[in-house]
Symmetry: C2
Subunit: 215 residues, 2 copies
DNA sequence: GTTTAATTCAAACGTTTGTTTAATTTTGTG
DNA sequence: CACAAAATTAAACAAACGTTTGAATTAAAC
């Protein structure tokens, strides 16, 4: 990768990522970023060309990290296919919960219908991840653990979609289940556990031959 | 409901809904709306107070329609609980696919973390729908069709989340499955069918005692 | 027909936006 | 030190934004 950023550039990237995540891309001005990063307004254009290309740089940096982590799970010879799927679920939940706002930002960009460098970058990233998971499924089928005719994109949609949806409506989930007395931290722990179990049992039902367990 | 809009107000609401859906709220200017609706810019403030209250009015109008349709399914005495769930799935898919852009708009608003009249309105809407579905699940449990200890919010998150996710990444789904030669119409039909089957078998696995069928 | 209220309009208001300029300072190199 | 390149700055730019104004027009009420 040709991505070698100076310390100052990294600060701008970090600050912008946080602000974009919290307030959205349109909702964040370059002046906000400059103020928070303690640099002159002109530095953003100077270093990155434009506000939009700054976002592009942020996503590029993120994509690299995701790909590496995913590969390390898939290629871990010590794990069975079922274990890999479970690791995948837990890893994704962990990643998503620890950077909620950033994933909100990605969601927002995906919602945009317009063709853009960013949209095509996200698509490419998705394809890479999908190919890795395809390997994993194929391995499971070869070993006889998984059934044939698995619609991987649908399965992915359920994992990502359910997690996204639950995240965006977590306050609602808390209210419905009368969990207001819990601390924020405890609630998130509880939510993650529930979601993890839910997704794993769903995937067991989709992927394997046996019915999923009741708790 | 006190919502009685003049013809001109309805035109503004329709046009604004379309534009907000296509370009987002921040991405649509009141000048865009005025031009498309063929009214003076000042009319939007005059009738609705502000751009934000205009969006509020659009969501209020939408919520009413959704509630009525949901009630008609839940209270249909001719259907069994399982059938009702299947109707629910198909109805939601139908609703979502026929107004994709509008649901993208709702998603975008849900992604916003800020407290706002619109956020609380969406939350209230969600609670209403949830209570209706709770009735449906309780009916199924009483009749012995559904198992106990069903996490309804999690189930809803899977339905809404999977549909949303698949919708926002449909171009990707098409590419991965080599369906570019299909017409747009045929592809959407295909996608709906796949999604419907996927969700129904997931729900069978979640709700009932038997394992779901393979195709 | 007269009066009062509701509607419509072009224009302007005051901000805020992303980006650029041109001058200045800092840094690196020989 | 001297010179060139890079970095940084305050200021200005033009464009777009949501909203308001005050006059002009239409509709409604009596």
């Amino acid at each position: 990768m040709e991505s070698t950023f100076s310390d100052k550039q990294k600060i701008i990237l970090d600050v912008a990522q946080q602000l974009f995540a919290d307030q959205g891309f349109a909702g964040t001005s370059v002046r906000d970023i400059a103020r928070e990063a303690d640099v002159n307004i002109a530095m953003i254009s100077y270093y990155f060309g434009s506000k939009e290309k700054l976002l592009e740089a942020i996503f590029k940096r993120h994509a690299e990290v995701v790909r590496l982590r995913l590969e390390s799970i898939i290629h871990n010879a010590a794990l069975s296919p079922v274990q890999k799927v479970e690791h995948l679920v837990d890893h994704y939940i962990e990643k998503y919960f620890s950077k909620q706002n950033f994933h909100r930002l990605i969601m927002r960009e995906q919602l945009s219908t317009k063709e853009s460098p960013i949209a095509s970058m996200l698509a490419e990233m998705k394809t890479q991840n999908m190919n890795l998971i395809k390997q994993l499924i194929a391995e499971g089928q070869k070993k006889g653990n998984f059934r044939k005719n698995i619609d991987i994109p649908l399965m992915m949609a359920t994992m990502l979609g359910t997690t996204n949806q639950l995240m965006t409506t977590q306050a609602f989930y808390r209210q419905v289940n009368n969990l207001q007395s819990m601390s924020d931290e405890d609630f998130l722990k509880h939510l993650r556990k529930k979601l993890s179990h839910h997704l794993k049992s769903l995937f067991k039902a989709i992927l394997t031959h046996e019915a999923q367990n009741t708790k």
